[in-house]
Assembly symmetry: C2
């Protein structure tokens, strides 16, 4: 395999690459054993990759979005400002841009205040869970009963939680792939719905997050049909420690909670669509997704300003090529991922007839850590294509995870029935859950070099998917969950 | 020099010490070249040191104080609860305990809210500076003018800040000895007093702290006599970035600030004094100081629950010895260090006649990092004594700083005119200013092993000062500042 870089660019790149320490990455080499990709395809992808690594600028996208718009929860004024901002931004990137209407719920947080009343009065920091009802004016006060999780709650004696505030106190483990989240988030999602029928008057949870700082992690809770709704909030991990210590004193613990949350009338928002129309197969679509909405506490730099910036910048680099790729690249910035996936549902409905024409899809929604893993969900006989892809990503320190198929991201769910091949380039999530759904999800947490590595990976993948002559077919049928 | 440990204890200690990885510290050895200390004195100090390293428990002191009392700002109900708590705690440590009345100011924070109104509306996190006046109900709104520090403010054209909110935007550098604080804190202390005569309507500062998280660092500001008072608040570093970015847009930036601070009538608090009466020279006093009050935002685990815990635990270990040391050891837990040093002043007044009998003093008020430095302020001819001390502290990884005399701590200021010899065992402050004066100053930030190392150092020093036959004399006259 000859060098993929022109003689002029190569020495410059060698210097630049050395300056970002990439030559030290394991696996750095020019791919030399490609099975499927023609040399020109690989060369063009590698050049995009290497340029992205030194020249891409997703950072300015995220800086502008978070500074000029900021938090953009579904239904808010800022939600609509974000849509307008994204339309202008993607137009300036040379994409064909449109919006597609989405009706979204509109929940507002209002005030949140919590304190331990007895045995030792203490102020605590907490945030309402998304969708929680408010408390009566003046709040509610009750005795606390602590359980680790939903299982432990359901194992209690009948009547044990009657009239009490249930404190779910499961600690989330830190993990590079965020593996601790699944069990930690259970009480957030279903705790209030499980506790209410047992007579609980409210729920407070230890935040489903790894931050050691003094703010709670919000996130949606799901009330169950026909079950009484009770107010629910997340304590900062620090304050969960405090409540745990007071419960451990053996004395009765009383807690006061006041939440001013309300659900208002639905609002109009929009999915933002930006396209590079394919030069040969314009009806075949490679979908690059992220979500434009964010929680209200931070500025949504990480969740998911980062994803929007990464996929948009990848599209910008491809749009700047002398000719469009074979297939259409479609950037899909989804409305309201956080509060019920309205944007994803609307996309699925509006594009129902076209889902089968989606030849591949990828979503970026795990922050801004470096990518070290590629996951795929393709038919087994298409794996040689994936192996070539892996070789082209290897210089970025990325290798294919053979033991786990691609997940695809929450906004890609409508594509699952159409068996669209999915790819994941998941970010290192060791720190992600320190910031996730908190006031601390802000621009200063981003590393510009990590962002360039992300864009390099996403642009390589997106370009290959749009340009390859290979038909990736349909993904294997999923097993029943 | 023979071993200082009894044959029975030594093997146990060897195992325990290995388990806390101390044998790996540079300089680990039994002192073998002491000049001044008799062998029995050194042996007794070393045994206290080594026991403290494995068995001391300042942690439970701090856990109890922060859980059962929590924040304890001067004049608050919790301030008085802390005094009562400390009296009981020190009694349980075998000390003779009393309180000495201190009149303290009583400032309350009330609500604090800030937002950028234009060009891009954003909520910002801020906290009032201690002592700030409140804004009128409904807040004030004005254009922002950014300067780095007080010098830059005073270099502006006349009229430049008239009617504006001055934004002091100096970033604090991280440093093991906290060296970045001095320049960072200047705007906090004197910024409002300097900006008001120029016509400013309020001041917001970038927090004098190194935290990258979403809360401001409070701390006292000093209005000047005869100068109009204006409200003053500290932005979290993250939000200072936001304001900086909006100012950098070149568009006029308008800011809305609302503070509910008020100064109430003075209250009664107390210094808490706990003593081990000296067996030979009870009138000679070795003072171990820390301050019992804290800011209101966190639970004061680090500032200065830690210091109170360290010096109290050192005293507890000495009180548990079969016989009291030669001189009196006095634990001094000062009232209201944070808001004007009322406790220190009251101590100086009440003990004016006795200051000359203080043979040495040390204060712990820099958190809970490991100690690696000993500083002293003694007459040059007493340095052989300090060198012996250094040899006994060397196994803890501590060496003497020859280039800088001991500072002594803010609560020791009344002892300066009496030229009391001072010693410092300053904690590593690399992380200290992440937590300092914030909501994040909480128990979970403490490392129990680091605390044991601290107690080992403080108890060694305290014991040697109280037991030595050497007269350390008076400290050198200080140069005019």
């Amino acid at each position: 395999m000859p060098s993929m870089l022109s003689p002029v660019r190569k020495p410059i790149l060698a210097v630049l690459l050395a300056s970002v320490s990439l030559l030290a990455l394991p696996g750095w080499s020019e791919p030399s054993d490609l099975e499927v990709f023609p040399a020109e395809l690989a060369a063009a992808a590698a050049e995009l990759r290497d340029n992205a690594l030194v020249e891409s600028d997703a950072y300015s996208f995220i800086a502008s979005l978070t500074t000029e718009v900021g938090p953009r929860p579904a239904g808010s004024v800022n939600d609509r400002r974000a849509v307008a901002w994204a339309v202008e931004r993607l137009k300036s990137y040379g994409l064909e841009v449109r919006t597609e209407p989405v009706t979204v719920p509109h929940w507002v947080r209002g005030k949140a205040a919590g304190r331990i009343v007895a045995p030792y009065p203490q102020h605590v920091e907490l945030v309402a869970l998304g969708g929680s009802i408010g408390t009566p004016e003046g709040g509610i006060e009750a005795e606390v009963i602590e359980v680790e999780g939903v299982d432990a709650l359901e194992a209690l004696e009948p009547g044990a939680v009657e009239g009490k505030i249930v404190f779910f106190n499961r600690r989330m483990d830190r993990h590079p792939q965020g593996a601790g989240y699944r069990s930690a988030v259970q009480a957030r999602g279903s705790g209030p719905a499980k506790a209410a029928p047992l007579g609980a008057v409210a729920v407070v949870i230890r935040s489903a997050g790894t931050s050691e700082h003094r703010f709670g992690h919000t996130g949606g809770t799901r009330y169950a049909e026909g079950v009484r709704k009770i107010p629910a909030a997340a304590l900062s991990n620090t304050d969960a420690d405090m409540l745990e210590a007071q419960v451990a004193s053996g004395k009765p613990v009383r807690f006061h909670l006041e939440l001013g949350c309300r659900t208002l009338a639905d609002e109009q928002s929009a999915n933002v669509i930006g396209e590079i129309r394919g030069r040969e197969k314009p009806d075949e679509i490679v979908l690059l997704a992220a979500h434009l909405d964010s929680w209200d506490l931070g500025t949504g730099a990480i969740d998911d300003g980062a994803g929007c910036g990464i996929v948009s910048e990848a599209a910008r680099l491809i749009a700047a090529l002398p000719r469009a790729p074979r297939r259409t690249i479609r950037v899909f910035l989804a409305a309201n991922e956080e509060f019920g996936l309205s944007g994803a549902r609307a996309y699925g409905e509006l594009h129902a007839d076209e889902l089968i024409n989606h030849t591949a899809a990828i979503e970026s929604d795990l922050g801004v850590g470096k990518v070290s893993v590629l996951r795929s969900r393709v038919a087994p006989d298409r794996m040689p294509w994936v192996r070539d892809l892996e070789r082209l990503l290897a210089p970025l320190g990325i290798s294919h995870a053979d033991n786990m198929p691609a997940f695809g991201g929450a906004d890609l769910r409508p594509l699952v029935p159409a068996r669209v091949p999915f790819f994941d380039l998941p970010q290192d999530a060791t720190l992600y859950f320190d910031y996730h759904h908190t006031a601390d999800d802000t621009l200063d947490k981003l590393d510009a070099e990590d962002l360039r590595q992300n864009v390099a990976a996403y642009v390589t993948l997106a370009y290959l998917l749009a340009e390859t002559e290979t038909d990736l077919g349909r993904a294997p049928e999923r097993e029943a969950p």
